[in-house]
C-alpha cells in the first residue's frame, strides 16, 4: 500500500507532472522523426537534466523512453518508415492498412496496444525488480562478472544481425572503457599522451556520435529518397470486433515484450519482431499478415512498448542495462549520483517507486497525446532533413561540449559518428558498443577483484554456483544462434 502511494507521488507534484508532460511530448516528437528516437534523444537531453533533481531527471528520461517507443508507430503507419527501429514490424501491416484508407484505425490499434503493453510492463517492473534486487544481495564480485558476461553474450545472440559481429562490437565497447587511467593502479592506458583522455572516454560523446552523427551521415546518403506520406484524417478507437480479434494477441505480446525486455538485448526491436511473428503463428488469419492485419499491428506494438518496463528491471535492480535507451538512463542515474542495485531499493524506495509511477503515467499520457495529437505529430515528418539535421548537429555539438566543457569530447563524438556509420554499413550493430562501454568497468573491475579474491586461480569461478549458472547460460546464449541457423537450414 505504501509503495502504491509512492508510485502515485508524481501525480501530486506539479514539477514532476510538468516534466512528465514535456518528456512525453518530446519523446513522441523524437519517435516520430525517423533516425532519431528515444536513445539519441535521451543522450541529447542528458546534459539538460543536470539542471534538474535526480528524480525529475530520470522521470524525464523514462517518459521520453516510453513515448518515443510508441511514437515510432505513427511514422511506420503513415510513411512506411519506422520512426524507431522498434517500430519496424509495425510497418509490415500498418502501412498496407493505411493504404487501404484505414490509417486512423491502424494508429488507434497501435496506440491502444502500445499503452496496454507499456502498462503491463510497468506492473512486471514493480513486481520483479525488487525480487531481482533481493537476489542480487547474494552476488559477490565473481557473480557480477559472470552476470555481465551473460549480458554481453545475450546481446550477441538475441540482438539483430550477426552474433559474432555483435560480440566484436561489444568487446570494442569494453575496450573503449579501458581508455584512461586504470582505476586500480592509475596507470595510463591508450591515452597517447593526450591529457583529456586520462579521464577516459565519456559516454555522451560516444552515444551521440554512434547514434545521432552516424544517422546524420546515413541521412546524407538518402537525400534523394522520396517518402510517400498518407494523409491522416483522424485517429479512431478500435472497434469491438477489433478488440475481440486482438485482445489475446495484445496480452501475449505484452508478456513476450516484458520478458525480452528483461534480457540485455536490443529491447523493443527484437521484442516487436518476436511479438509480430507469434501473433502470426497464433492467428486464425495468418494470410492477412503483411497485407494490413490489425493483429500484426497489435502484436508488434504491444511487444515493443512492453519491452520498456522489462528493460528497466535489470537496469534498476542490477545496474545492467536491458537496452540502448536504458543504458542512457543508467548513465543519467550515475551522473546524478544514484547507484542502481539492491541498495537503491532499500535506501531510496520513494525514488524508485516515483520512477515506476512516472512510467505508468507516461503510458497514459502518450495514449492521450496519441489520440488527440497524432495528426499534428504526423506533420512533424514533413520537416525536411536538410533543415532538421543541421539543427540536430548544433544541439549535439553543444550538448556534448556542455558536459565537460571539452572540445575534445566534440571531436570524439564526430569520430564515433563516422565509425558508427561504417559499422552500420557493414552490419555491425552499434548498440553492443554502448552496452560494452557501460559494462566495461564492471566486467574488468569484477574480474580483477575476483582474481584477487581467488589468488589468481581462474578455476575458482566455477566453484561458485551462481557464477557457474551464468557461465552456462552464456554458453547456451552463444550456442543459440548456431542451433537457430541449423534449424533454418
Amino acid at each position: 500500500m505504501d509503495n502504491l502511494l509512492l508510485m502515485l507521488a508524481p501525480l501530486f507534484s506539479s514539477k514532476l507532472l510538468l516534466v512528465l508532460f514535456f518528456g512525453t511530448l518530446f519523446g513522441l516528437i523524437l519517435g516520430v522523426l525517423p533516425g532519431l528516437g528515444p536513445t539519441t534523444g535521451g543522450a541529447l537531453i542528458l546534459p539538460f537534466t543536470m539542471t534538474l533533481d535526480p528524480l525529475s531527471a530520470i522521470v524525464l528520461l523514462t517518459s521520453i523512453y516510453c513515448a518515443g517507443t510508441y511514437g515510432g508507430a505513427i511514422t511506420a503507419v503513415l510513411i512506411n518508415t519506422p520512426g524507431t527501429p522498434a517500430a519496424a514490424a509495425t510497418c509490415l501491416d500498418g502501412y498496407p492498412l493505411a493504404q487501404k484508407g484505414e490509417a486512423g484505425r491502424a494508429l488507434g490499434m497501435a496506440t491502444v496496444s502500445s499503452t496496454v503493453g507499456g502498462i503491463f510492463s510497468v506492473v512486471i517492473l514493480v513486481f520483479f525488480a525488487p525480487i531481482l534486487a533481493q537476489l542480487a544481495y547474494e552476488f559477490g564480485q565473481p557473480e557480477y562478472f559472470a552476470l555481465a558476461i551473460f549480458g554481453l553474450t545475450m546481446l550477441a545472440s538475441i540482438g539483430e544481425g550477426s552474433p559474432i559481429k555483435n560480440l566484436i562490437a561489444g568487446a570494442f565497447g569494453i575496450l573503449i572503457s579501458t581508455v584512461g587511467k586504470d582505476f586500480m593502479t592509475s596507470i595510463d592506458r591508450f591515452t597517447f599522451g593526450i591529457n583529456e583522455l586520462t579521464e577516459g572516454i565519456g559516454f555522451i560523446p560516444v552515444v551521440v556520435g554512434l547514434f545521432a552523427m552516424s544517422e546524420m551521415l546515413t541521412q546524407s546518403t538518402l537525400i534523394n529518397q522520396v517518402l510517400n506520406r498518407i494523409a491522416l484524417k483522424a485517429i479512431k478507437l478500435p472497434s469491438k470486433d477489433d478488440y475481440k480479434k486482438t485482445w489475446k494477441t495484445i496480452l501475449r505480446s505484452s508478456g513476450i515484450g516484458s520478458f525480452i525486455g528483461v534480457l540485455p538485448a536490443e529491447g523493443g526491436t527484437v521484442a516487436s519482431l518476436i511479438g509480430y511473428s507469434e501473433a502470426k503463428r497464433f492467428s486464425k488469419n495468418p494470410e492477412e499478415f503483411g497485407k494490413g492485419s490489425i493483429e500484426g499491428i497489435a502484436g508488434a506494438e504491444a511487444a515493443n512498448n512492453a519491452a520498456t518496463g522489462g528493460a528497466m528491471v535489470p537496469t534498476l535492480a542490477l545496474g545492467i542495462p536491458g537496452s540502448a535507451t536504458t543504458a542512457v538512463i543508467l548513465t543519467g542515474l550515475i551522473i546524478h549520483g544514484v547507484r542502481p542495485g539492491p541498495d537503491l531499493f532499500r535506501e531510496q524506495p520513494d525514488f524508485l517507486y516515483g520512477i515506476f509511477g512516472a512510467m505508468l503515467i507516461a503510458n497514459i499520457l502518450f495514449f492521450i497525446f496519441g489520440f488527440f495529437g497524432a495528426k499534428i505529430f504526423a506533420r512533424i515528418t514533413l520537416v525536411p532533413n536538410k533543415i532538421l539535421w543541421p539543427m540536430i548537429f548544433a544541439v549535439s555539438v553543444c550538448g556534448t561540449y556542455s558536459l565537460n566543457q571539452s572540445i575534445i569530447d566534440v571531436w570524439i563524438m564526430l569520430f564515433f559518428g563516422v565509425l558508427g556509420f561504417f559499422m552500420r554499413r557493414y552490419g555491425f550493430s552499434v548498440v553492443p558498443v554502448i552496452i560494452g562501454l557501460i559494462l566495461g568497468e564492471l566486467v574488468e573491475g569484477t574480474l580483477r577483484q575476483s582474481l584477487v579474491i581467488f589468488d589468481g586461480n581462474w578455476l575458482m569461478f566455477f566453484t561458485r554456483p551462481i557464477a557457474l549458472t551464468f557461465f552456462i547460460l552464456s554458453l547456451i546464449a552463444l550456442a543459440f544462434p548456431l542451433i537457430r541457423s541449423r534449424k533454418i537450414k
Partner: protein, 168 residues
C-alpha cells in the same frame, strides 16, 4: 531477397582484396594489432603493488579476442559473402568533409562559427537553396542554442572570434 542474393553473387565475383569482408576484416585486424602493440608500452605494476592482473592484461585479452573473432567472420564470409554495398553518394563525402571543416574552424577560428558554417554547408549540400532557411539553420538556430546553453546550463563556450565579442 532476390536482390540480396544478386548483390552477394556480385560480391563473390570480385577479387578477394576488393571484397568488403576482406577490407573490413583487414582494417579491424590492423587497428587491433596496432593497439595490441601499444599495450606493451603500458607501465608495469611492481609485483608488490600488483593486485590480480597487470593493467595491460585485460585490454590485451580483449584485442586478441577481437582479432580471433574477426578472423572467424572473415572465414565465414568466404563461404557466405556479404552483400555489396551501394557506392556512397557525393552528398555523403560533402557531409563527411564538413566534419573536418568543423574541427579545423572550431580549433582555429571559433566554435560558434564552426557550427554555423557546418549547418549552412550541410543544408546547402543537401539541397536547400532558399536563403531564409539557410539563415535559419546556420545563424538563427545556433544563436538560440548558444544562448540557451549559455543561460540555462551556465556553459562557457571556448574562446574565438565571435564568442570573444559576445563575452566582452
Amino acid at each position: 531477397m532476390k536482390n540480396v542474393q544478386k548483390q552477394k553473387r556480385a560480391n563473390k565475383s570480385l577479387p578477394f582484396f576488393f571484397r568488403d569482408e576482406f577490407r573490413v576484416s583487414l582494417v579491424i585486424i590492423l587497428i587491433s594489432v596496432a593497439l595490441l602493440i601499444t599495450t606493451f608500452t603500458f607501465d608495469i605494476v611492481p609485483p608488490i603493488l600488483n593486485r590480480g592482473i597487470q593493467p595491460a592484461t585485460f585490454p590485451k585479452a580483449l584485442l586478441v579476442l577481437i582479432i580471433v573473432m574477426t578472423l572467424l567472420i572473415y572465414y565465414l564470409a568466404t563461404k557466405n559473402p556479404w552483400k555489396v554495398e551501394k557506392k556512397l553518394p557525393r552528398s555523403f563525402f560533402l557531409t563527411l568533409s564538413s566534419f573536418v571543416i568543423f574541427v579545423v574552424v572550431s580549433k582555429t577560428l571559433d566554435f560558434f562559427l564552426a557550427i554555423s558554417a557546418l549547418s549552412i554547408f550541410v543544408s546547402y549540400c543537401w539541397g536547400e537553396k532558399r536563403l531564409f532557411y539557410l539563415l535559419l539553420v546556420g545563424i538563427i538556430f545556433p544563436i538560440i542554442v548558444f544562448i540557451f546553453f549559455e543561460t540555462i546550463l551556465g556553459l562557457r563556450f571556448p574562446p574565438g572570434i565571435i564568442t570573444n565579442i559576445y563575452y566582452s
